[in-house]
């Protein structure tokens, strides 16, 4: 897991959707299957009992799947019996059932790679680690781009470039194909007449072992023209992005303008300090740990809960609040996503656009950055 393996991504095969479905359902004998249901921009990752329950044409989800399953909103990290002076449960070695996350878009895979740096970096978070080890990740390259996507600006999509840290990468082949010869021009429509097929790439040893053991149909190796077509599909998709921002120029430039009027004006007129942006962000990892004591004063639980830099209590310390002003809190989010690359060696945004889509007033961090660069 998490890039430790030296496994070479050399196995590529083209399999029909029925074969993929059979493989996934065999996988379901060992893993809880979790995938996108509901479709469109408001799909949700949920446990499913069959391949057909999933909608792999989905565009986005509100809660990011990586964060939802690897870094849960509320986690009891410790419980202690005061009267008996002992820990009640051994949280250091938490158990976790195996889960296959199916159909993650490249942005969400990259977000998991970012969370790996946070929770498996200098300090290992045991809760994250156990979940990460027990997750089998099947990524899916995007078929379409939404108006708010900007993954292309940070190399996080629409096709996944990372070579490790996940297990399988799927690319739906549209309108080509070797068998039927039908070419509908990569418009996003499923093939008429021809059957739906996927390019399947194995990205981990675990995936190789499981695929060879479980898949009844191994498919056949892609031909040169298939790979060329996929490159064409990617190039065509890249042309459909609406958002643009010079990320090179943003680097270190925002920090130089901490009190820019664009921040203040946006904060005053539109920022609700409601923290929706943080909640739906796939890379926001801040959390608060609080003690909750029962009224018999016999048990204490330490509870870890998602926290948000937009909340007034986030930066309150002894003696004051170092982000008491609304624009200072908004600035923290915008700068952290776009400018603090040095923290973990990669951009903290994956360009999924969720913070814009789920902001009640539609605040757009790329627009703020643009205004600040002018």
């Amino acid at each position: 897991m998490t890039g430790a393996s030296a496994f070479q991504k050399d196995y590529k095969t083209i399999i029909p959707v029925e074969a993929l479905a059979r493989f996934v359902e065999r996988l379901g004998e060992q893993y809880t299957l979790t995938g996108p249901v509901g479709g469109g921009l408001t799909a949700r990752f949920e446990d499913v009992s069959s391949f057909s329950q999933m909608d792999l044409d989905y565009q986005s989800t509100m809660l990011p799947p990586g964060k939802k399953y690897l870094f849960e909103p509320v986690q009891e990290v410790l419980s202690f019996d005061i009267s008996e002076g002992r820990f009640l449960e051994d949280h250091k070695d938490p158990q976790m059932r195996k889960r296959a996350l199916i159909g993650l878009h490249p942005c969400d895979v990259n977000a998991i790679l970012y969370l790996d740096k946070v929770f498996l970096g200098q300090y290992t978070d045991p809760f994250y680690r156990i979940r990460r080890e027990n997750i089998f990740t099947i990524a899916l390259n995007c078929k379409s781009v939404t108006d708010l996507c900007f993954c292309h600006l940070v190399g996080a999509g629409p096709y996944l470039k990372a070579r490790s840290g996940y297990d399988i990468l799927l690319t739906e082949l549209r309108g080509l194909l070797t068998d039927s010869g039908v070419d509908s021009g990569g418009s996003g429509a499923d093939m008429d007449g021809g059957e739906k097929k996927f390019l399947l790439e194995l990205a981990s040893e675990k995936a190789r072992d499981l695929f060879h053991a479980l898949s009844p149909d191994k498919g056949k190796p892609p031909e040169e023209k298939d790979l060329a077509k996929i490159k064409e599909m990617e190039a065509a998709l890249l042309k459909t992005f609406k958002k643009n921002l010079d990320m090179e120029a943003v680097q270190n430039a925002l920090l130089a303008r901490p009190d820019h009027h664009a921040l203040k004006e946006t904060a005053d007129s539109r920022c609700l300090s409601c923290s929706n942006c943080v909640m739906v962000c796939p890379t926001c990892f801040c959390h608060d740990v609080r003690d909750e004591t029962d009224l018999a004063l016999s048990r204490v639980k330490k509870i870890r809960r998602w926290d948000a830099c937009q909340d007034i209590s986030f930066a309150r310390v002894h003696g004051g609040n170092f982000r008491a002003q609304r624009y200072a809190r908004l600035r923290q989010f915008v700068f952290h996503k776009l400018d603090y690359d040095t923290q973990f060696g990669m951009k903290a945004t994956v360009g999924c656009g969720r913070c814009i889509r789920w902001c009640p007033t539609g605040i757009d961090l790329t627009e703020i950055a643009k205004a600040m660069m002018e």
């Binding site: 509100m62 739906v280 009640p360």
Partner: protein
């Protein structure tokens, strides 16, 4: 397990039957103008009722017992309801003077709640509508939150409050620490629960983005717009949400009603 028994861990020479726990905190629960829902919530404090009674002595709680005196002294005073009559002004000051710690409980005491609706019309007009021929026997005042008259040590928000904040308040008094009350928005609870957004997906005038959490996003979880029964959170940006409602096509009258006549008419000016 009582506080006293826990304490014995460290001082083995101390012994006394649990029933006569000298460490029991004296609590007074007081009601001003409200529906008594917060009192009921405490009386039905399901998860923790037994432990509460082991650690606290409710020396005055009219809903639970007609015995007891409101005179104090109290380690903790819990006060529900808004101030709407002159005699209540005297009472709340007496309660404050007799209490070490005073927490306002529920929206009426904290932001005005339902009683605050009358702040929208001249007092006499309100009285005339309610009491008609007995008008001149009335001596009601403008509605006020508890914090307008006395210092409040903490606010247990809600309509009625959730168990989490009630428990945090009581446990803090036992431990002697600052309570950490929830201050973030309903949206945070709503997102963590994975609910669909009724504001953005359904276009409902949801008050979640400006409302103090603690309810677990109860209304949005049932596809209803939040109506801010917990009151505005401290960092609420009211003009920004009004602007959003305008864009959704709501009239100024709709919007004013949303903010001022359902709950917390004193929310922006009170406290």
């Amino acid at each position: 397990m009582s506080f006293y028994k826990k304490f014995r861990l460290h001082k083995k020479d101390v012994h006394s039957p649990k029933e006569k726990n000298p460490e029991k905190k004296r609590v007074g629960f007081f009601k001003f103008s409200c529906c008594t829902g917060c009192g009921f919530e405490l009386a039905y404090f399901q998860r923790s009722l037994k432990e509460t009674l082991e650690s606290f002595d409710f020396t005055f709680f009219r809903l639970a017992s007609s015995a007891g005196s409101p005179e104090g002294p109290f380690d903790l005073a819990l006060v529900e309801g808004a101030v709407t009559e002159p005699f209540q002004i005297v009472e709340i000051k007496k309660i404050r003077a007799a209490s070490k710690v005073l927490y306002a409980v529920g929206s009426c005491a904290i932001v005005g709640g339902i009683p605050a609706i009358k702040a929208l019309a001249p007092e006499m007009e309100v009285e005339r509508a309610a009491y008609r021929e007995r008008l001149y026997e009335m001596s009601s005042t403008r509605p006020h939150v508890i914090g307008d008259y006395v210092k409040v040590d903490g606010c247990i928000r809600g309509c009625p409050p959730g168990e989490r904040d009630l428990e945090e308040a009581l446990a803090s008094v036992l431990i002697g620490k600052e309570p950490e009350f929830i201050e973030y928005s309903v949206c945070m609870e709503c997102k963590m629960a994975g609910n669909a957004c009724v504001l953005l997906e359904d276009g409902l005038p949801c008050m979640g983005p400006v409302t103090n959490a603690g309810c677990g996003a109860l209304c949005p979880a049932h596809h209803r717009a939040c109506y801010s029964c917990f009151g505005l959170m401290g960092q609420a940006n009211v003009p920004a949400l009004k602007g959003k409602f305008r864009k959704l096509g709501f009239t100024e009258e709709d919007i004013e009603k949303r903010f001022f006549t359902l709950f917390g008419a004193l929310g922006e000016t009170g406290q």
